[in-house]
């Protein structure tokens, strides 16, 4: 029968008796656990940031950009041609079963004035579906309506940054701002979105009806022209089919014949897929960082084994005494395993502290986003415990094999 409390006490006594040695042994585990937690925190932080950006962009998002122009043999980049129209956007919504919402967009930079404040910002002309496509809610006031789009009303919604720059503390709803000298009534303020995956401030924007943008602010090469079309698919699994349907439909509408191998005059981009790939790569990075840190934990475990072996040799006589008074094989084994586990668990506790501290340091010094997940903490801690058992076993096994007579004679 094994007496756990007294075995723990015996282990504690022997750990306390060699404070320096025990401390150094624990240091290996402390560094290991600390490194694992810090590295996982860095990885999780990066992943969480990307996840945040993905959801800020809107989920299940496709973007259709116009194709490249070519003038005299020079092909310009994607988006230089003006080939997309309001009609395309309407047709996509109507004809593609995998598409849930469509927002045609025509925008540009414009100087905006309110009272004695002015601010240059991106003005986006779009339809009410835009808020759905981008998963963007109106914080105060309201969004514009289809009627206001049809009537090219001079109404606008402000992003948080613009609202703050122009109005400071005042409530902008109901006020009039001038965009390119055209007066617009502010009907709403959008909720905060934060940075885009590309690092732009998404709140530095003004949203107006697309028709107003076409007719009164930016002008168009042909009536109903838009710069790009944002599309929200019905779900993640429908992204690919939506992409295919949109491409097919646009080739038809733009009269691009497959027989003559005419190039697309548009590009469909699957933003969600791109971001998911980025997320996947940070996941791999997190695993990699964690794995590398685990190596140091493993080295710490070897340190424990080393010290336990020394301890078994030093305490041969004690083992002999214990055997003489009735300790069985597993009594002896457990004594040393428990000692190793105690060493590694205490190391684990301090390691968690070190990991939390390290993550905080990285955040404050390097400015990295770190997130310590309870999972990584419990993982590192139980891994440390497991290492105690694993690396404690061999010394314990050696101790239990001792012959009591030889052990008692040992000097």
């Amino acid at each position: 029968m094994i007496n756990v409390p007294s075995t723990v006490k015996i282990a504690a006594i022997s750990i306390m008796a060699n404070k320096m040695r025990s401390g150094l042994t624990m240091l290996g585990i402390i560094i290991g656990v600390g490194a694992v937690i810090t590295m996982l925190a860095v990885g999780t932080g990066a992943r969480e940031k990307i996840g945040e950006q993905i959801s800020s962009m809107g989920s299940n998002l496709l973007i259709v950009l116009p194709g490249a122009t070519s003038a005299g043999g020079f092909r310009m980049g994607a988006g230089t041609q003006s080939t997309l129209s309001m009609g395309d956007a309407e047709a996509i919504l109507k004809e593609s079963p995998s598409v849930r919402a469509v927002a045609p967009i025509l925008g540009g930079i414009a100087q905006t004035v309110y009272g004695n404040q002015n601010w240059s910002t991106g003005v986006t002309g779009t339809t009410p579906d835009f808020f759905n496509v981008r998963d963007w809610l109106v914080e105060s006031g309201r969004a514009f309506t289809d009627d206001e789009v049809r009537g090219a009303s001079k109404v606008c919604l402000l992003g948080q940054t613009v609202a703050e720059k122009l109005f400071g503390g005042i409530d902008p709803v109901g006020q009039v701002v001038r965009i390119k000298k055209v007066p617009f009534t502010v009907i709403g303020v959008l909720e905060k979105k934060g940075q885009s995956p590309m690092g732009q401030d998404q709140d530095d924007t003004i949203i107006i009806p697309v028709t107003t943008a076409q007719k009164k602010i930016f002008g168009t090469a042909f009536p109903g022209m838009v710069r790009l079309i944002m599309i929200k698919a019905g779900g993640v699994e429908e992204l690919a089919s939506a992409e295919r349907q949109v491409a097919e439909l646009l080739r038809q509408r733009h009269r691009l014949s497959g027989a003559q191998r005419q190039e697309d005059d548009f590009t469909v981009r699957n933003l969600t897929q791109m971001m998911q790939a980025a997320e996947q790569s940070t996941k791999v990075m997190t695993l990699l960082l964690g794995a590398i840190a685990s190596v140091s934990l493993l080295v710490g475990g070897i340190g424990i084994m080393n010290i336990m072996l020394v301890s078994v040799t030093e305490r041969t006589r004690e083992i002999g005494i214990r055997m003489a008074v009735g300790a069985k094989t597993w009594d002896i084994r457990l004594q040393f395993i428990i000692e190793a586990v105690i060493l590694s668990l205490i190391g684990g506790v301090f390691g968690i502290l070190a990991g939390v501290l390290g993550s905080m340091l990285l955040t404050s010094i390097a400015g990295w986003n770190t997130v310590i997940s309870p999972l990584s903490v419990s993982l590192a801690f139980s891994f440390a415990g497991g290492i105690g058992v694993f690396f404690g076993f061999y010394p314990a096994y050696k101790a239990s094999l001792l012959d009591p007579i030889d052990a008692l004679r040992h000097e």
């Binding site: 029968m1 007496n3 007294s6 003489a324 008074v325 009735g326 007579i405 008692l408």
Partner: protein, 232 residues
């Protein structure tokens, strides 16, 4: 019910291998020890008395022959089964005391009880009363290095008593003590033998110590050369 502490040794021999050479340590020893006897085993070093003692103490197994402890053959038991027998039936007292230096007298006496599942309070109570029996009441919290040699040996005797073992094996228990303290320790053994009828088996090479036993067994070259009431 079997008589506790009854030892029968039949044709027990123990050989050691020194490389390829077989060296007999004891050769076909047979004897019986009744419960409550006080035996002293004498003999020069190398005579096989320590080997015999280890076999009696279930620390070692004979190469051949039978060892019946309270009627059960223990000569072929496994390591853990022997540990169980030691825990129940045998208390050891060594020449070098063999106490754990980092633990108190009380904890040293508690040690055998750690391995037979007694509760902490029961352990403490029994250890304290064993210390009282050997005359060390009040020294429970002392560490071995705070105790004299005689006191340390008393702690070891308390440890041997604490599981109510019917047999105490003492291997040169006075070897590290001065004469006066040695005699005191021997008187303690005599008292335990007469009052608690514990079988005491003493290994020594000092005739003065051996005379405390009622029966003397002399070993020479691995064989018993004399066995009978003490004749000094």
């Amino acid at each position: 019910m079997l008589r506790a502490g009854h030892i029968v040794v039949e044709d027990v021999a123990k050989d050691y291998m020194l490389g390829e050479i077989r060296i007999p340590a004891i050769k076909r020893v047979s004897l019986t020890i009744e419960k409550g006897e006080f035996i002293s085993i004498m003999g020069p070093s190398g005579s096989g008395k320590s080997t015999f003692m280890n076999i009696l103490g279930c620390l070692d197994r004979p190469t051949s022959g039978r060892y019946l402890l309270d009627g059960a053959d223990v000569s072929s038991l496994k390591k853990d089964e022997l540990a169980e027998i030691r825990s129940k039936k045998i208390g050891f007292v060594f020449q070098g005391f063999n106490l754990l230096s980092r633990t108190t007298a009380l904890e040293n006496v508690e040690l055998p009880m750690l391995y037979n599942g007694l509760s902490a309070s029961e352990r403490k109570g029994r250890a304290a009363s064993a210390l009282k029996t050997v005359g060390l009441a009040g020294r429970e919290g002392h560490h071995p290095n705070q105790l004299s040699g005689g006191q340390q040996q008393r702690v070891a005797i308390a440890r041997a008593l604490v599981n109510n073992a019917p047999i105490i094996l003492a291997d040169e228990p006075t070897g590290n003590l001065d004469t006066k303290t040695g005699v005191e320790i021997m008187e303690l053994f005599v008292r335990l033998n007469t009052e608690a009828s514990i079988t005491v088996i003493l290994v020594t090479h000092e005739p003065d110590i051996s005379k405390f036993g009622k029966r003397e067994i002399r070993f020479l070259d691995g064989a018993v050369v004399s066995d009978g009431p003490h004749t000094l």
